[in-house]
Symmetry: D2
Subunit: 386 residues, 4 copies
């Protein structure tokens, strides 16, 4: 624990927003970050009330993000925010992230990063110029057992990776929820203007893509996709299935659906290699199934002695005291905090420090969405990645 | 129970054959069928010894199936076999099935039925002419909870079917087992001359196809496939992934792999409809997961009072006394026996009697294999079914 | 497989009896035993019809077991039964078993063996005099993974056994089923005249006792018991809980209940030793959980290469092709058959042959019931076993 | 969210203490409580460093709890702590809790509450006099699905409760960890001077007792217990088994063990009633199994629409986004905070507000430990509760 908390601002995430509260809890989980200013809603009245709810100083409650940015830049360094957390609907990610990066402020941005690969490339270029840090909250990669899986795959414990099956199944959009008028989440996530060109595949498929890339490091060579809108009246896909070819010859299957009744948030990953296999389920995140080729199946449990340093480091409670979604999300912010502190101290990161999804992860996720939509529309079997 | 057992012959299935013994136990499970003659191996010596093992009369132990057929046709009706069970490697199915059908003898044949759709069409035509019965042992559809699923889907309890995911994962061919010289199963199943044009997709993918068709009745409109041979030196695919479009607008995913380490015989089916969803796993076959849209998830258990008549009828032990692979296989033979008895008695089948996969199921399975191989080779995204 | 089937008679198990059909299927499972005569019901008319159902020769369908026994003893050895299977309600076990043993005929008898320890001792004495074999069908010990557990414990793989928890939970007697007039099972199992001095603890608790004894070999030193009749109007206990002290210092807990709603036939065993632990569930019988003290938890799967010879020998289908209740039951009969054949051939049993619960197991089970009822009534904390 | 955070002090919980950090996170989880002062260790140097770690003002970092209490009492009300959190080893609970209660300060105290029923009675009396609030952190009752279970049982959805089985299995003390010199947890928890008269039964058995009482409201009438110390050299029990008789005629079984290899923190509860049954596992806390007598088993999932208000209110993330140990713990503090705020505002609690384990729960837990130790030593079968 450190005495001095990192100061951050939040754009979006006011009253009624689900994910803003999650980010704040994640940032505060390790007691290392403090929310000091906010432009918490596009609605100025709600922005003000939300800031009051959170106990922000009146002078740091802003009606819009430009005024927040202006204000922060005028403050002395010891008081100024050290990063901004962007948790607006997707369409606002780019302008906000661009402005703060331009101003030299580190950014944490929700996924999917932006709407186009051009925007992503622009952010990469700009962050490179400014030398700022940029994290994209693919939060599922913060789970200790995902990091265990990554470490095992990268160490070659599974041999050559042959087949990857990743699924993300939800059932909450099985009806036209966006027409009820009461489901704010459904409303913006199925609205192309705010959500982008993809529905399920953008919202959750992109998490699945990131999970595979994080764990395996495999590079996509080509994809074949079939996106569907099952619910009449819906404007974006609510289901998608992909076949994937990876550069090393591995094959992949990626499924994402929001009409899968009985599924709540059922993200699961299976990785089959020549020497072993792994299986992980987000809804049962404290365990990782491991099948070595020459012995019985094993259940690896978070908090037990026989895990990799990366998994141990990302875990806070003893085995059997389950950790879950919030702890994983907090691990992303923990990595961001480490990176900012090291940067400010002018020191290199220690091994395992600064573990969070990067701007490059975000850009690849945007490309994944673009390519999937393109592939789904194509009559060609394989749509090349590059 | 009936006094008079049905008499049958077996072609193939001698010493060392796994599936022959399974068929015999399945046929005998309900005490209603008796093996009376056999041509149990292509090797005459082994055929003889195998027949002796099984206690067949010497005069009904044959060195080859033509002599068996000849002999049976000469016998009086009261002694003659009432059906033949064909459990040879795949390449022998067609000639044997054709000859017995031609001779007016009912046939039970292992899957996949034959090597080509032309052969399948020929058998359908011939069986129609001769008026003989023909069952194909897609044994997994004999499970009571599969019949429960079928009944629920067909009754509309899931609403309109939107998405189907079927998987069949095994790991036993993760190495080049066919090169060890000791794995007879691996040897013939990976040999194009005996197995046909497909490996995993023919051996187990065809089961997956049949399971979907049986439960949902959906008709395939087009498929997109990617077959892979992961193990160097192997002659047929050991992994396949398909996207499927059904005629009603539903979408499907079918995965079959024999390099999925940690998986033994992991056939599982998920069906998502507009009003509910079902999930079934072959390795845990006594339960069926059911998620209605407007209530909590349920676990339906074989042997409990709240099942459909079709599921109850296919079940023999009380709930909690698990039934498994053999009971399901026996249910196929049970249906065959009912059909033969009704036919011989000149009476129509009672409702729920005669429930077994038909020649049409077999023909569709052959087409599935052909179309999948064609689709995998194609650069077109969608290969139309017809 | 052997040419010559063993001939056996059945006493009890006619129409409407559940367990008789199970025994017949178990005996016939490996094609090694043939039912040749029967006194299948206490009701002569039903006895006759049941014999006809099963295709017995008219001369070997008997109205009562004495006439069956008389008849068999008059037949030449080549035709005479080689053993009798007794599947009547409990109160008939003793007279029938005594008479056949007295006559020098091997016996398979359902559990619980008899009503009193005196009866059990008498049978042991008599079988010793006559030199006959006697098996008691504690069928759950026929499961391959139970034999795996037994082999692991006996080989010391768990270190010293410290704690054993065995549970057998059913919910089918949560209401007064015996009063419905339609539940034959409930009627006799809750009737002291036919079932004996105990209800749940006799019917299923005795299975639990046998499972522990079989797997661990621990000897009970003293027990503390609390039996309860929850359902008003019931004449015997429908629930029981025991604390157990074993001779080696291990402690045990045994729970048996028939009012445990939601449980079908939920027999489960946990064994904790100083070096490892095991967990097995009858409703998921193909796997055995194993936790070594110095590594991750493992899932041992029937049919995989890394099992003991005892487990491999008791298994017939490959991994992932589930076996279940019937296969386990058949393993008991398989062991009986091996023992009879070896005895008749005058040869010793091969290692692993002749594996079935013995008369001594049965006698211990009777003592378990007696001691539990005594302990439940006692105000003493510990009731000594001997 | 509220602007004004509640101020609290912590006694114990400094560097290396596991549970202190958990309490602080729980208190801060909803952003409603702020740690402002501490006497964080019995070691003054560690107390100081720990206070600095946490960013406390130097004047509010104390070397011992009397000086903390003194200091707080001198401060103006607007600055003074509103409650104290006591997270020391057990033997310090009583003096600290007594002093703060005496001083009129609300208390949150870890479990088990104190060492003797006399101490517990004294605290109850004193808190009554002073009118202070007092919570005992039986944290497992903070789980939403435990509150769901409680609501269902209390509403009669299970009918009359017949049988309760609660288990708390851990394996971490299978070896003499307290002798390694490196396991601080093991050292104090197995030391009678600090832990009290019981080991496993005090540390985790008391959680099990509280879970049953919370969910069912059943009152213990008599117990029978067998405590064991399996690991040579250990000073307290590491395993215990109890039979329980409840006042309404229900029966109970309570198992607690710390030598159960393969178990991490396996607290599980089963409640069987005349109309239904429930099952909950702490390691899989987002679901609750429910078996109604007249229908299929159901899986109730946290975050779904068909739960009781009590469960909904205690849940923060949508279904499928798992919550776990920390969220449950935070719910205890949330209830404490509600009660303090209502008290300070002079208003009654709203329904469902102020839901936390009370001093009476704590006193009952102490009595449970005393009675269990007494029962284990007794030769009487039943030790009466009162």
């Amino acid at each position: 624990m450190r005495n001095q908390k990192l100061r951050y601002a939040m754009v979006g995430g006011g009253r009624d927003a689900f994910i803003g509260a999650v980010h704040r809890r994640a940032a505060g989980f390790h007691n290392g970050m403090e929310l000091v200013s906010g432009a918490l809603s596009a609605d100025p009245g709600k922005a003000r009330l939300s800031g009051q709810d959170l106990g922000l100083e009146p002078g740091r409650i802003h009606a819009d993000w430009p005024s927040l940015l202006n204000d922060e830049l005028k403050r002395p360094a010891a008081e100024r925010i050290q990063f901004v957390s962007i948790v607006t609907p997707n369409h606002m990610h780019y302008p906000v992230a661009r402005a703060f990066t331009e101003a030299g402020i580190h950014v944490v941005c929700d996924k999917p990063l932006v709407h186009t690969s051009e925007q992503a490339a622009d952010l990469i270029r700009l962050a490179g110029q400014r030398g700022t840090l940029f994290a994209v909250t693919y939060n599922y990669t913060g789970y200790p057992m995902v990091r265990q899986a990554r470490a095992m795959v990268r160490a070659g414990q599974l041999g050559e990776i042959r087949k990857v099956v990743v699924e993300y199944h939800q059932g909450w959009l099985s009806r036209l929820e966006e027409a009820t008028g009461t489901n704010k989440q459904a409303a913006w996530r199925t609205d192309p203007a705010r959500s982008g060109i993809a529905g399920a595949i953008g919202d959750i498929g992109s998490h699945a893509e990131n999970l595979v890339a994080t764990v395996t490091g495999l590079e996509i060579e080509a994809i074949c996709a079939d996106l569907t809108t099952f619910v009449p009246g819906r404007l974006l896909d609510d289901d998608g299935s992909l076949l994937i070819r990876y550069a090393n010859g591995a094959k992949g299957v990626l499924l994402a659906s929001q009409i899968a009744l009985g599924c709540d948030n059922d993200l699961r990953l299976r990785v089959y290699g020549s020497e072993g296999a792994l299986e992980w389920h987000q809804e049962d995140p404290n365990v990782l199934g491991y099948a070595p080729i020459d012995g019985p199946r094993q259940t690896l449990v978070r908090g037990t002695p026989w895990l990799t340093p990366a998994a141990k480091r990302a875990s806070f409670l003893p085995a059997g005291h389950p950790e879950a979604f919030m702890e994983a999300f907090a691990n992303i912010y923990l990595g961001v905090g480490e990176a900012i502190r090291a940067r400010e101290a002018g020191r290199p990161l220690e091994p395992l420090e600064g573990d969070y999804p990067t701007l490059e992860d975000g850009a690849r996720g945007v490309r994944f969405i673009e390519k999937t939509v393109q592939a789904s529309r194509s009559q060609e079997k394989w749509t090349r990645w590059s």
